[in-house]
Symmetry: C2
Subunit: 108 residues, 2 copies
Amino acid sequence: MESRRDVFQAIADPTRRAIIALIALNAMTPNAIAENFDTSRQAISKHLRILTECELVKQEQQGREIYYSLEADKLKEVDQWLEQYRKIWEMKFNQLDDVLSKLKKSKK
Amino acid sequence: MESRRDVFQAIADPTRRAIIALIALNAMTPNAIAENFDTSRQAISKHLRILTECELVKQEQQGREIYYSLEADKLKEVDQWLEQYRKIWEMKFNQLDDVLSKLKKSKK
DNA sequence: TATTTTAGAAACCAAATGGTTGCATTATAT
DNA sequence: ATATAATGCAACCATTTGGTTTCTAAAATA
């Protein structure tokens, strides 16, 4: 349960991705967030805890309310992981390109 | 169990990410893949099934061996999801840039 | 043909996951 | 001072997950 959270696991859950989308631009309170789902406020709270633990989200207390907002930077980790494969899919794209241009030539 | 697999869930598991890295450049058989982990071949087989179900990996039978290779294209889905947040973290970076340049000016 | 190799399927299991309800705490409002 | 609102935590539960071991099927080899 306490095992160090990682971003990949955090974004695996569709509800958490929806929360991320919700608070990406404007910070929101748990209550306000929960209104957008048909699960309990407590369930949302748990998701927020997971997102907070892996630093995808930060809290800002304001009176008795807590505003949650996205730490978009943390998503760079996913971006960096993708980087190595981006090269591969671009390579494949170029190969396809070659095939297409060869096809064109042979049609003439 | 059979519920449609999605990429985010597939890459959530560290072993699966390791498998992806292994077969990214060269197709490999389950046996060969399993040698790189200290879990059973069957466990790896299950991971391969999940990766196959969400089309992150494709199989190519060759006699009694089956070669698994990465379908890097599928990772574009993750890339596309990241896209919206990329704008946000770049924006924040630019803001930081502004702050830095203002700091420089005030030092003069 | 008999044996070995490669791989998936099935049955089982412990742990993790995502959800629930109820309770405790703190800050605001009456 | 008391009541209400906002939140997190704990205990509980069903389902999913990742692993194991055993068994089966099919292809290659002796």
